[in-house]
Amino acid sequence: MSKRIRSFKTTERAMFINLEDRDSSVCVDFAEGNILLFEGTGPDCYHGAMVSPEDFRGFALNLTERDEWEVMLRFGDITHVLGVTESVEEATRWLRKAAEIIRSKMPTAKTASEQTQEVHELATA
């Protein structure tokens, strides 16, 4: 399993990451802001797992030596690679929207200025 991202998808209900060899490996649902991880059996995968908005610490993009971008989820003390993409613009758009949804579902939703700061951090990570 390469965790190579084929597409970022948004429906009326949720947002998804589709890998080349697996659809819907990651989901952010609009109603609750939960992050669902259904990544399969690989050693770098969680499956059947959920991350709640209150445990969300943000997304990050990390440029690798191959000039690809690792899409990373931070929750608790964990930094987890969701996939790898060459499309940093598309990834950034998806991550900004997903973070906005998740933050809005936190027990104490962050202010617009705090979200703007996080988007800036994401874009410059």
């Binding site: 819907s24 669902l36 690989g42 959920m50 991350v51």
Partner: protein
């Protein structure tokens, strides 16, 4: 009105462990999907990493959570050819009871080996228990809630 179960089978060559969920539909309304999952951060800190979480869940339990199963909603919407479904006719009381029992939120405890931990469930055993509680015994329990065993059960249903 119908009550349904949907199963995404285990496909080892695709690194797919499988998943199962519960669903119901009232007349002219969208299908509701519910699944059963765990939170990574409910595991002890030393088992939360992506390389360690599995070994903990075979021998222990963590809190379980009923969710609106957006993963299965998406598979269903995309016409995933691998999905196996079984449907039963239902009445409004069945649907009402099902909606209550499958209300999203914390519910029971989760384990990969639920037979070894009284009261524990994985996605398969949770679906089986809820459907059987509401409709009567329509699904057999399978050992440790293994997806492969439930796949065989549902395939047999399809052949009837």
């Amino acid at each position: 009105m119908t009550v349904s179960v949907y199963l995404s089978p285990s496909i080892p060559e695709d690194h797919e462990p499988g998943h199962m969920c519960l669903a119901w539909q009232k007349e002219k309304e969208a299908v509701e999907f519910r699944g059963y999952v765990f939170k990574v951060l409910d595991l002890p800190a030393e088992y939360q990493s992506v390389t360690k979480w599995r070994e903990y869940l075979f021998d222990h339990v963590v809190p379980g959570y009923v969710i609106v199963d957006e993963i299965m909603i998406e598979k269903h919407a995309c016409g995933d050819a691998n999905l196996i479904a079984r449907h039963w006719p239902a009445n409004p009381w069945h649907i009402e009871e099902l909606a209550e029992k499958a209300k999203p939120g914390p519910r029971g405890v989760y384990s990969f080996n639920p037979d070894d931990h009284p009261g524990a469930h994985n996605c398969v055993t949770w679906v089986t228990e809820v459907v059987n509680q509401v409709l009567g015994v329509v699904l057999p329990k399978v050992r440790q809630g293994r997806i492969k065993l439930m796949t065989e059960v549902l395939k047999t249903f399809r052949q009837e």
